[in-house]
Symmetry: C3
Subunit: 382 residues, 3 copies
């Protein structure tokens, strides 16, 4: 749970006379007030403590100046500065408080517990030198956020399906068991398999009927961040959850790939709402690292919309597109991820704190009831 | 027509006992069954034959294992394993079969014949050293898929309009005849013409009225993949088909431009539905190459939405953006193409077979009735 | 006001016999007609004059040829060539004229005067070595195009809010005064501030209540084109106007950054319609440069949709993404800008004239009533 500093009581801003520039002493006095008002931060934001001290003169409520040159026409409303006429101001204040309370509730619930965790690493069994993975597709109930149950079509009862991770050159077998009421198939998106392993019904194979099983086999080719998903009635089947990460580790790692945390982040926007790895905020999972560590994030978009992913506080160094190295790494803080794309980035965790990390199409991330959907955090602990 | 392998009869999967891991012998026996069940593949997929042999132990239906460790909670439904209670299972099976039949019908119809072919190369006539192209804009009926007639506003009765292809430095004249019920103009999108040839009504020229003609003339400047289209009431006029490729070949080709197939792929999503070169699947045109050949694809988006184009089985090497070389080529399998953008890619056709090639916004490519709209194939024949 | 050349009278195209290729003399005669028909161009298009002369043989109405080889099936309609049957042709012509008049009206009104100008540079006041900026958030009425008043939530009564521009390493204080009926905060998007200055309610600070003020302070870190905006109920608050440019100039400029014009272009698509810097066409502001000058455009998307920005006549050289230099500059004429992204480009103004510059999602830029929304011009004067 994030237990953030409580907002100051309204009178805390009413103690400085109108028109007076707040002095450094005022700041410090209020900082002390804040420190008292705020219960000890939970571990999730403990990394911020020192910074808070360093910038003691900032990050604090100050009193409005009566007429600033930057805003010559602005009228300081009557309710400002401690002399609030009760009804109107009270109603504005009550409305704002009610909205803020909803926002706070969401943040405090993060990361919220829900049943089921998607994308768990699937250990293969070895059969005569072949790494064998079995996935069973069936209809389940899936909890996307606390109390919100949706119908999902899932591999091994997970949304996203279990993460399959092999090494370049491995012989790989994936056995699909179809327990759905529809036919299905698996397409290995981005993996350059022989044509008859490509999973496109009536082009490369017959559809796998309800009750049937089907086996795919190939030698893991081009390394990188790939996906597996249904390619039959796919707008529905992928939208309902028949998708997962398929990662092929390279025989030869590049120096830039030596990271402390390797995180897969699958975006979706289908029937389950706006989700990261099958969950909506506040049930999304924070990414956690220590100061100085390197995090690799493998973005994968399995939805129907673009999602420009924005990280606060630190930039991302883009290294791979669809598993292929970019000619040179490049930096950004907002990365546009389109359906079917994979982008690999490295974050050098050099800025401690809890950093919001979300889709920047704002209606995918926040409503007047607070944050929801495509929001999580990158937490850099000291 | 693609005539793909038929799905196995349901009892083919019922011959192995529950809980038994399918043996290699089982795979091979079924492979033989499949080979019998499948009529000889039509030429469109003949390239896949050898691969199919090589991976004879895979790509085949297998029987579900009763309880796999990867799916501990899964309940094998009663209808699995040959002991199907007639009514429920029959109904699931019938529903799945009915859906699959619709999907199969679409695939088998590909590439479906329709009247009219867009983007045909327009040979110029020479007039005193000037390459003269004439395009007549008028209202026509256009068949986007078999039996689906739409109103189109077309250049020379084609959607997209005819391909205009010149060489850097050529003197070019394009004469527009307006037989539409509205005024129109031509804008040469991406071509750095003198301002008065830019085709923007009331800024660079008067609109060309119904019944009038208008002549554009310039020396072909910056080479690359460009477009020409209406710039008057353009949301409607371009949406209805007043668009085409305008390609300026460079005086000096780069080595990477030496290709065997040079293919223009214009995306649209207006009043004609989701189309590639004016047609929706199964009436889209496959791109055909021989194993080892290089294909250049010139993506052009004339629609109102982004379309992340995904190629199966092989990657694309991106060389140009809007006709300008990228600083270094880079690779991907899913390329996000936004309205007005052109992207040139090279595909090294090193993986034989029929490869699905589609927009990865899945509702642009597939419904529960099967594939439609923005789907085609890259066929690599051996 | 743009006062463009008037369309030719209909009979001007009827003077050449059917089937005759228009001669050079015909072109020149018509060019003269045009020159007479067109009142002197206002200064906004004066740059085009010489080009118009140079290409006197083109850019002119010509008469349709009766049957061109390029359009074998086309029927030249009876109304073409001066022998128009009165009723039908009259009605088509009247409809086209009425539409064209609406289009012309919009163009002639550009750039239309409206109350209020967004994004004005905000001069800081110095306090003991700190650059202090004050912004007051409050509800205002904002004129997006002539006569269209919308409710805006604005910083210092501007949409976008005032431009804040500092230098890498500056100590910066931003004081927010909240006169809105809701709580709010400021997030410095892209700026790598200490966590407690990041402006995310309940994670890094309490929300700033109606009537309260709040102070942010940090040392300007990573240079580049960044933004500041609300991060509380942001889909609404940013959509209503609580946003602005936050630019950090580098200590050390790169050679490519030496430009003549430095222009910020903020895209939005919320409750105010499709806007550039808070205004819709024809109230958008043209970018003006002299031939040979270099213009830097800093694209910032504060909306909810992607906007592929297309410049006519010249290309853009992309140098920065989100304030970070690209590994190597690259060129394009259509740049896809997603929400939250910033892209910096350089335009070498080597092509004189008035160049349309717009989002290429056409329904964001034009309707049957003419251009609107996301349209402006880059004017290169000689």
């Amino acid at each position: 749970m994030i237990d953030s500093r409580r907002p100051l009581p309204p009178d805390a801003t009413a103690t400085v006379g109108e028109g007076k520039t707040p002095s450094r002493r005022d700041f410090i006095r209020r900082a002390a007030l804040t420190a008292i008002a705020a219960p000890a931060a939970a571990s999730i934001i403990s990394g911020c403590d020192d910074d808070r001290k360093k910038s003691a003169s900032s990050g604090q409520p100050v009193q409005s100046v009566a007429s600033s040159p930057a805003s010559p026409k602005s009228q300081i409303p009557a309710e400002h500065g401690g002399t609030l006429p009760t009804p109107a101001a009270g109603s504005v204040s009550a409305t704002a408080d009610a909205m803020d309370a909803m926002h706070e509730k969401g943040i405090k619930a993060f990361p919220a517990r829900t049943a089921g965790k998607g994308g768990q690493l699937l250990p293969p069994r070895m059969e005569k030198g072949v790494k064998v993975f079995e996935v069973t597709a069936r209809k389940i109930q899936w909890e996307t956020e606390p109390g919100k149950m949706v119908e999902a079509w899932a591999y091994n009862d997970q949304v996203p399906g279990p993460q399959i991770r092999v090494r370049e050159g491995d012989r790989v077998r994936v056995i699909l068991h179809n327990q759905l009421p529809e036919s299905t198939v698996i397409h290995f998106h981005g993996v350059e398999v022989p044509n008859d392993q490509d999973g496109v019904p009536f082009i490369t194979q017959p559809p796998v009927k309800p009750g049937q099983s089907y086996s795919y086999e190939f030698t893991a080719p081009n390394p990188g961040s790939h996906m597996y998903h249904s390619h039959h009635n796919s707008a529905k089947q992928v939208g309902l959850g028949l998708l997962g990460a398929f990662i092929i580790e390279p025989k030869q790692k590049r120096a830039i790939e030596n990271v402390d945390v390797d995180y897969v982040l699958i975006l979706n926007d289908g029937m389950h709402g706006y989700t990261f790895n099958g969950k909506g905020f506040p049930a999304t999972e924070p990414i956690v690292a220590k100061l100085g560590q390197k995090v690799r994030i493998r973005f994968m978009n399995e939805g129907m919309m673009i999602h420009p992913m924005h990280l606060h506080g630190m930039h991302m160094t883009v290294i791979d597109k669809d598993g292929w190295p970019q000619p040179a790494p490049w930096r950004c803080d907002t990365l546009n991820v389109a359906p079917g794309e994979r982008w690999d980035v490295i974050v050098n965790c050099n800025n401690p704190g809890v950093w919001a990390f979300h889709c920047h199409i704002l209606p995918h991330a926040e409503s007047d009831h607070g944050m929801f959907g495509m929001v999580t955090a990158l937490i850099v602990n000291k």
